[in-house]
Amino acid sequence: MTETETKGVLVIGGGIAGIQAALDLANSRVKVYMVEKAPSLGGRMAQLDKTFPTMDCSI
């Protein structure tokens, strides 16, 4: 068991919502721990081809 000292926020899930939450917190100088069950971040949105209406690439 390893211990961590700073008190941060835990984000469960590394899809678009979790990523946005984590980035906002981290940019507000808060320590963030992100836990994702899959081997990579991205969630559903990474699987999408393009998003309307701008047709930007999802990744």
């Binding site: 390893t2 008190k7 469960i12 899930g13 590394g14 946005q20 721990y33 994702e36 393009k50 701008t54």
Partner: protein
């Protein structure tokens, strides 16, 4: 994604799960189990040799099972982290068998099969649940034959098929014979909204199918016909309705209202016959299609139940995490300190998921506000960029998005011949983690002092590349990007040779410009730590409370005498039917107990300054704030003489009726003093028409809610609608309940509005019912118009001018990016909350308000911020003080300064300047230069363009 991977404040545990949580809000202890990847994260370079050596092939989850992967794999090219992982379920190595091919293939010795799971304990103040959504598997549905026919795909499978890096490399192919289908059919609402299905609406599937129909034709022009079988097209979000309208203009897309009863495959031809009732004639129909896409519903993520148990939070009836009820807080779970966002609490679309992520962050921040990390900056030694230009050019394939059209090999050879280019390289996905590292290595190895990439759009990717350069000390403004995807391969996909030529011309121009690029330094400015919230409705109050909870000084300004906005006139709020007045009382009590300074009957007179340093004069006092949240709300559409609204007192709007219900105090609602026997609602009044093409989103749920109230008192209800868009938590369930208690829903055609005439004391409503294929005549006591929302005038325009925030085509305030920046604006430091951005329910407005608060907090929690140096500068020696720049700048950035008596020169405020270069172009003495777009740089591009001709 990559930003998370490399953010110094984020610790990432992938392939991990939360197994235990104890403690309470402000002080949780969490155990995280890290499952072994069997590949060392520090040693793995992501080269993929292990995967090539692996003998096992299994379906790839990322490609929804359409593609294949090995037992040791990386889920997709741009995965974060880029470390490979062994799926031990399918790996050959166990106690009895030894394969070890991957271990032998790995040159870095990164693979170790004997690693045990590791438990890590973390102490946190709060948690955010963002577990997302699973997709309903139609395998068990006998009627649609998904298990029988390969030519039936789910929406997600089709999405992967359309993807250039997917299993068919973006080619739309019928799985049985791998030829391009002529006819495709989309079937909506699979697994939801039926008798035995989930009762909620999945929300995102309609727009997903609409988008995929467009993309399919783009990918395969041979497609002749795309039919979308739908129940209601729910184009409810901002910009959705106009997108939907655009697809209706395409002659190859057909919308067919009806839910197919079964789909049968012909065993010989593998064509599919769709059995559906023609809702116009009531007769059964058979439609033959080459391929069918099932818009499969969203389900709660598979580990929801387990996680609810670990976290000690409740689930709703729909199986998603339950939201806090009393205060209609969509972002709070049933336990303090645990927040929900995205699809964790029910299906959401992308903009709402993004906003909710920010909103949950704002809520969570309250519990750790005392633990902010110091503002540290890594010391990076800058690379010496002196001497002649040494340019490196990196060509990206973007899967087949670029390489499928452009001839990368020819381009590479050509680029090598360009002056000062010392290194050229191509890459499958230049934006992937591994490729970015490689780019850094190449910069060092070839001592590059300029970098050019020919890839996708700078709009989304330039910052990523710039950051990659900056991280090893190369000034980010020595990076130049060419958009050969949007400007060459996408638009000229039918002309590969010419497109390649054009790409080479553009790269030549970029290389010419790169020689003249100069390193620029970002200037820092101080930031005021306070925030102004404009508007005291539910959104404004929520933003103010969230910021106050985090300890920031907040001022809330409301022009009316009383706070509460539209909340004051509402009866009960969706999704949980909380009385609006109770909610408002609680919010006002919280506000009173908080440190928020509230000014009512106060208007904003003028806004000056810039991000971090706004100066706002109000009718009460002048404020200095770091950030502004605009929550000035919207108006309800005034029907005026439409349906004789102004003439008859028994023609009301939803809003009028809310007022009546709110005053009944639980008793019966009376219209003109009597209890109506029968009422009719008319939907889409002032929405989805030529003047206001947008959908107002809240009217359908409101009508259903009110119809249920009427049924409680025995009043008969008919609803005349076009598409029932019961969007939002619990709304679809209420729609079903309304049908259950005898509310009659009659669909009228888009181009044939119902007609209301006077009939005795009551009214007669006449409409054509498309589902009945007949004209309906109905005598009613009252007609309720579902009047939509419109931008508030003249406020919206006043704030547009004052805050320099543009308005969208629908007239509401425009967000920075419809998907990725729903609460930010193009003006730094100004954020949007609630209906000022687009129509929303009170609960949705408050969720978005939390997001705006979170964004403002990330700005004002910093003492200093960096400014973009790509702005205009004045050479004061050349300036004559003619005022041209002052008069033409839209952002009020230049001002005249008296340097010595009688001598005026222009100075440009660095924080206000957007670097558009208008002043530089107009300046008669050429005293102004646009940094990063200097005359020299642009001339170099033009010269080389004319040299060889485009």
């Amino acid at each position: 994604m990559m930003d998370v991977g490399r953010h110094p404040n984020i610790e990432l545990y992938t392939y991990s799960e939360v197994t235990h949580v104890e403690g309470k809000a402000g002080d949780f202890r969490v155990t995280v189990r890290r499952h072994p990847r069997y590949v060392d994260e520090d040693l793995c370079t992501g080269c993929g040799q292990c995967s090539d050596a692996c003998p096992i092939v299994v379906p790839n989850e990322f490609d929804a099972g359409l593609g294949a992967r090995r037992a040791i794999y990386s889920p997709f090219s741009q995965a974060v982290p880029n470390t490979f992982v062994i799926d031990r379920e399918s790996c050959l190595n166990d106690d009895f068998l030894v394969c070890e091919n991957c271990r032998k293939a790995c040159e870095r010795d990164a693979i170790n099969y004997d690693v045990a799971p590791q438990d890590v304990t973390i102490s946190v103040g709060s948690l955010i649940v963002a577990t997302g959504i699973d997709v309903f598997d139609p395998y068990t549905m006998k009627t649609y034959g998904y298990s029988v026919s390969q030519n039936i795909l789910t929406g997600l499978e089709f999405e992967r098929m359309l993807n250039a890096s997917g299993p068919t490399q973006g080619h739309v192919l019928r799985p049985t014979d791998r030829r391009v289908p002529k006819k495709i059919a989309f079937v909506q609402c699979v697994g939801v909204r039926g008798e035995n299905d989930c009762q909620y609406c999945s929300l995102f599937c309609c727009m997903n199918s609409v988008k995929d129909a467009l993309l399919a034709k783009d990918h395969a022009p041979e497609i002749e016909e795309i039919t979308i079988f739908y129940s209601d097209i729910r184009a409810f979000g901002k910009g959705y309705e106009s997108f939907y309208n655009r697809t209706k203009e395409r002659d190859y897309i057909k919308y067919f209202k009806g839910k197919p009863s079964k789909i049968v495959e012909d065993p010989a031809s593998h064509d599919l016959t769709i059995y559906v009732e023609d809702t116009l004639t009531g007769k059964p129909m058979e439609v033959v299609s080459d391929m069918v896409i099932l818009a499969s519903a969203g389900l709660p993520s598979s580990d929801t139940l387990k996680l609810a148990d670990v976290l000690g939070i409740e689930l709703g009836q729909d199986g998603f995490f339950k939201t806090e009820k009393e205060n209609a807080q969509l972002l709070r779970s049933t336990k303090e300190g645990i927040f929900l966002c995205g699809c964790a609490s029910g299906p959401e679309d992308i903009p709402d998921s993004v906003a909710q992520g920010s909103g949950a962050a704002a809520g969570a921040e309250k519990y750790v506000a005392d633990f902010r990390l110091p503002e540290t900056e890594e010391e990076i030694t800058p690379i010496d960029v002196g001497g002649p230009p040494r340019i490196g050019v990196f060509l990206c394939h973007c899967g087949i998005n670029i390489a499928g059209v452009l001839d990368i090999e020819t381009m590479e050879e050509y680029v090598r011949s360009l002056p000062n280019v010392v290194h050229v390289q191509n890459d499958l996905f230049l934006c992937s983690d591994g490729s970015q590292k490689l780019l850094q290595e190449m910069i060092k190895e070839h001592r590059l002092n300029r970098v050019v990439s020919a890839a996708c759009t700078p709009r989304t990717h330039e910052p990523i590349f710039q950051e990659t350069c900056a991280r090893i000390g190369l000034n980010p403004y020595l990076f130049e990007m060419v958009n050969v995807r949007d400007q060459c391969s996408w638009v000229h996909s039918q002309e590969p040779l010419l497109a390649t030529q054009r790409a080479m011309d553009q790269i030549r121009m970029a290389v010419a410009r790169a020689q003249w690029l100069e390193p620029l330094e970002q200037k820092e400015i101080s930031v005021e730590g306070s925030v102004l919230v404009i508007g005291g409705g539910p959104a404004g109050i929520q933003s103010a409370l969230d910021l106050d909870a985090q300890g920031f000084p907040v001022t809330l300004v409301e022009k009316e005498k009383e706070l509460g906005g539209r909340l004051r006139f509402l009866d009960r709020l969706l999704p949980e039917n909380v009385p609006a007045v109770d909610l408002l009382q609680r919010k006002l009590a919280q506000l009173k107990a908080s440190g928020v300074r509230v000014f009512t009957e106060t208007e904003i007179k003028e806004v000056g300054g810039f991000v971090g340093n706004f100066e706002v004069s109000t009718t009460k006092e002048t404020l200095k704030v770091g950030s502004i949240i605009l929550a000035s709300g919207s108006d309800v559409y005034d029907p005026k003489d439409e349906y004789d609204y102004e003439k008859y007192s028994n023609v009301l709007t939803n809003m009028d009726l809310e007022g009546i219900f709110a005053q009944t105090d639980g008793g019966e609602a009376l219209i003109n003093g009597t209890k109506p026997k029968r009422v009719a609602f008319i939907q889409c009044v002032g929405s989805r028409n030529e003047d206001n093409p947008h959908c107002s989103r809240i009217c359908c749920p409101t009508t259903v809610k009110q119809a249920l109230r009427f049924r409680e008192q025995g009043t008969d209800v008919a609803v005349f609608y076009r598409d029932m868009r019961t969007v939002g938590h619990g709304a679809e369930e209420q729609y079903r309940a309304a049908r259950g208690v005898g509310v009659v829903f009659i669909r009228y055609p888009d181009d044939q509005k119902p007609v209301v005439t006077k009939s005795g004391k009551g009214l007669r409503i006449q409409a054509f019912g498309t589902m009945l294929n007949d004209t309906v005549n109905m005598e009613v006591d009252a007609v309720i118009l579902a009047a939509g929302m419109v931008p508030k005038e003249p406020d919206t325009n006043t704030f547009k001018e004052m805050l320099k925030v543009p308005r969208s085509p629908d007239g509401f305030m425009m967000e920075r990016h419809p998907k990725l920046g729903p609460v930010e604006t193009t003006t730094d430091g100004i954020f949007l909350a609630g209906c000022v951005q687009s129509p929303k329910s009170a609960a949705e407005s408050m969720a978005q308000a939390s997001a705006a608060a979170g964004k403002a907090a990330s700005l004002v929690c910093r003492e200093r911020i960096k400014l973009d140096p790509t702005i205009c500068r004045v050479n004061e020696a050349l300036c004559r003080g003619c005022r041209t720049c002052v008069s033409i700048c839209d952002f009020h950035a230049p001002e005249l300064v008296e340097t010595s008596p009688g001598i005026f020169v222009a100075r440009i405020n660095e924080a206000l300047c957007k670097g558009c270069g208008t002043c530089a172009a107009w300046c008669p003495t050429e005293a102004i230069a646009a940094q990063h777009f200097t005359d020299q740089q642009i001339e170099a591009m033009l010269e080389t363009m004319l040299e060889e001709g485009l």
